[in-house]
């Protein structure tokens, strides 16, 4: 497996979470899920041992996009929806950087939908953290492209009319090479997914279910409520049978039509998760299990496949051009083609 961080300089000193904190006052609402994600990211980054100055966080607009201000790395808080585009230019010209995009459901899937799908298909070395709270927070509570149909908000007093995106399905459809989902409140799981994303060569999309306690509180309650969460959370582990439930008595199985059904764990033919399958149909079917009512919601890595990254291919073309034609010679270029001399 190609190491995406091979060209990023390492810090000889041992780092701690504190090294990644800035002196800026964190200005999310008290109780916001973003705090937990920030702490998880700051807590996990020292593991990578990268020099802080070679780590860059790029964001768009929205509550989540304030994230770079709180990371003591390089950071770029850009404009609405455009973070993947900006990060693409940065990552494809600087192989010595570890580039992270922080975005939300409105930023990534509404105004910036085009950039998201194209960065996924291109497979630039970017790690995209999509904080999905299923609501617009910064503009104070309108429905988002991941809100459930019929959502009553300030802009939809009689209920929203449009069907939501499923970010995981969308990413798989956009040829993403790494697609995962995790939850703000499950720090251990969140960090394990971040670790895998960081080690993935290419674009990684990590959807993080994040609670907005002001405008959409308890949107993911069934996945967080200690009484219910084990019953409805389907933890995907590559190479492991997909069994879930508080008593681990439920499992997934493929139907002859290719869809996925929930069966008793002692049934034959239980599905073994294969995140590395070339064919994305299993990952896609798993992504369809999620529903607004969270009867069974998979979390973990849906898809993780190796394919060449855009930035590496771009570098190879430059190297190949030099190998074939020699390094650039400006005087030679200007005097190329038909020339004539006047004495």
């Amino acid at each position: 497996m190609t190491d995406p961080l091979a060209l990023v300089p390492k810090d000889p000193e041992r780092q701690t979470a504190k090294d990644f904190k800035t002196d800026q006052e964190v200005r999310w609402c008290p109780g916001c899920g973003d705090y937990a994600i920030l702490a998880a990211v700051q807590g996990f980054l020292p593991e990578l041992g990268l020099r802080r100055e070679n780590v860059v966080f790029v964001s768009g607009i929205g509550c989540s996009s304030r994230f770079p201000y709180y990371m003591n790395t390089y950071g770029f808080h850009s404009i609405h929806g455009r973070a993947p585009a900006i990060a693409t230019g940065l990552a494809s010209s600087r192989p010595d950087l570890s580039v992270w995009v922080v975005t939300g459901d409105g930023d990534a899937l509404s105004i910036g939908g085009n950039h998201l799908i194209h960065s996924l298909r291109r497979n630039v070395n970017l790690k995209i953290l999509l904080f999905n709270n299923r609501i617009y927070g910064l503009t104070k509570g309108q429905y988002s492209p991941t809100s459930e149909v019929g959502k009553i908000t300030k802009s939809t007093p009689m209920g929203s009319l449009d069907s939501p995106f499923n970010p995981i399905s969308l990413a798989i459809g956009a040829e993403a090479s790494f697609v995962a989902r995790t939850i703000d409140s499950d720090r251990k799981h969140l960090q394990s997914v971040l670790r895998a994303a960081a080690q993935h060569n290419g674009t990684a999309l990590v959807e993080i279910y994040q609670n907005c306690n002001i405008f959409n509180d308890d949107a993911f309650l069934p996945l967080k409520d200690p009484a219910r969460r084990d019953d409805v959370t389907v933890r995907l582990e590559h190479g492991e049978p997909i069994v879930f439930g508080a008593d681990r008595d439920k499992a997934l199985r493929r139907t002859p039509s290719g869809a996925i059904e929930v069966v008793s764990a002692d049934e034959p033919g239980i599905l073994v998760h294969d995140a590395k399958a070339e064919d994305p149909s299993l990952a896609f079917s798993l992504s369809r299990l999620d529903s607004p009512t969270f009867e069974h919601t998979p979390i973990g890595i849906f898809r993780q496949v190796e394919r060449p990254t855009y930035d590496q291919l771009m570098r190879e073309q430059l190297d190949e051009a030099v190998a074939q034609q020699g390094p650039g010679d400006l005087a030679g270029l200007l005097a190329s083609g038909d020339t004539w001399r006047i004495d």
Binding site: P9, T22, R51, R52, E53, N54, V56, V58, S59, P68, Y69, M71, N72, T73, Y74, G75, F76, H77, S78, I79, R82, P84, A85, I86, A87, T88, G89, L90, A91, S92, S93, R94, D96, L97, N114, H115, H118, M314, Q317, L318, E320, A321, V322, Q324, Q325, G326, P327, G328, L330, A331, L333, L334, A335, S336, G337, D338, T339, W340, R341, I342
Partner: protein
Amino acid sequence: MTKQVQQLDRVIIRFAGDSGDGMQLTGDRFTQETAAFGNDLSTLPNFPAEIRAPAGTLPGVSSFQLHFADHDIVTPGDAPNVLVAMNPAALKANVADLPRGADLIVNTDEFTKRALTKVGYAENPLEDGSLDEYRVHSLPLTSMTVKALEDFDISKKDAERAKNMFALGLLSWLYHRPTDATVRFLELKFAKKPEIMKANIAAFQAGWSYGETTESFSVSYEIKPATLPPGLYRNISGNTALAYGLVAAGSRSGLPVFLGSYPITPASDILHELSKHKRFGVRTFQAEDEIAAVGAALGASFGGALGVTTTSGPGISLKSETVGLAVATELPLIVIDVQRAGPSTGMPTKTEQADLLQALHGRNGEAPVPVVAPCTPSDCFAIGIEAARIAVKYRTPVIVLSDGYLANGSEPWQIPDVDSLPEITPGFAEAVEGEDFQPFKRDPETLARPWAIPGTAGLEHRIGGIEKADGTGNISYDPANHDLMVRLRQAKIDGIARDIPPLAVDDPSGAARVLVLGWGGTYGAITAAVRRVRAAGGRIAQAHLRHLNPFPANIEEVLRSYDKVVVPEINLGQLALLLRGRYLVDVIGYNRVRGLPFKAEELQTVLQDVIDS
């Protein structure tokens, strides 16, 4: 038969045919022959936006005009002395531009009843006397070509397609052009199809021989080489020159060029050209849209590259928000707008200068951006370097306003000595022991902020579109700070006026009372008009702006030195509005928005009328 040779000082030829007839190629080859011969020249391609409009129709007509002379010339010429019309549509679309007595070379094979009807000719104009005021040369070009190629093992269709080379051979004979380079060109172009190659060379030579033997042409013409400054020359179009300027800027600054672009007429050729120069470390990124194109360029700039995006007016509209972000984050960025006729889609292949106010003001908030404009195709090279110099030195986006006329037009270019090109110093910030890094602490002279690129230890910082506190760069909603930052950003751009040449005025008489002031691509037409006025005894001063924001420091003084100031523009008076608004000078606009460059003759009349009034 001995033929007469007549000396001319200049000629304007227009090749016109169906868009599938190879007129652009024919024009390009004639241009190369003419350049190699040593004439001064200027070209004007004119083609439909449709790739292949229905054959034989007026919208499908493609033309290429070439003006060449034994002296220094500045425009592709107003009206052709010679029109080559490959079919009735080409004749109909172009004949109105011909002055009385012009030569008209017509391919009679295409003048069938059906083809004539298709473009609305009830009678054959070759027979009804309507062309009597021209010297018409009716030649069956297609059948002569087919006959000349009958010994070749190629299809009739391929033989017919070589008729443009027959026409090129004939014109090459008529104007004593050297032919070796065209033969070499055909050998290369058709290297993989030897029979087609031989046939095209044979058609080219047959056209030449036909000229020498036919009685249709009793006279051939000589136009002596022009006396240009000594040096090495090549012919260059505006888009190629801009691409070279960017490669040169990368090379002179040591910064890797990163182009983010989305294909759009008439700017795509810059993307095509730059994508060939990977060995210079030039990265070209064809983005999913205009917004991603400029976003990626800005991201690359943040990382220490020379970020560039190329587009036309509609793309500028889409990029505006990101250009505003570049203003706020104060990062170098080059935004190239090859202007075309608007609004909206407008006329993609036609030229215009109507994006000036958009470039200056088309963003939310107070978002000043330096704007520069090349004045000739070859000046696009220098303007590319100038844009990079300003962008890097002042940490700012810079908009370049080229246009469709400059982009596709071409002229001889004296190739500069690489060592004479300006040096550009990136001056990346470095950590200073014991000092907290302040990303918005400014250089006292330029007011530029430090360019601190990721990977530099000790300078970790966060930038973005939210207002920043002066110095520290922390988020700030402080009213006084915002007022200060708005003024600092403006002062930084205004201060560039101290770093650009003053506006030069050309007035050989020293006694002119009327000034003509232009900007960008109208330089050639205005200069030609000024020469005509002076040749007729008129006194006129001329100045031309390459820097539109900020203006040169002496502009007000220049404006106030004349009784009258005429400002010709291919828009409804955008520069005029700026001059009136800023300097309270009542300039006289001359505005035509036809998708075409000005003609020297029309501007001559305008200028003379102002002088006389």
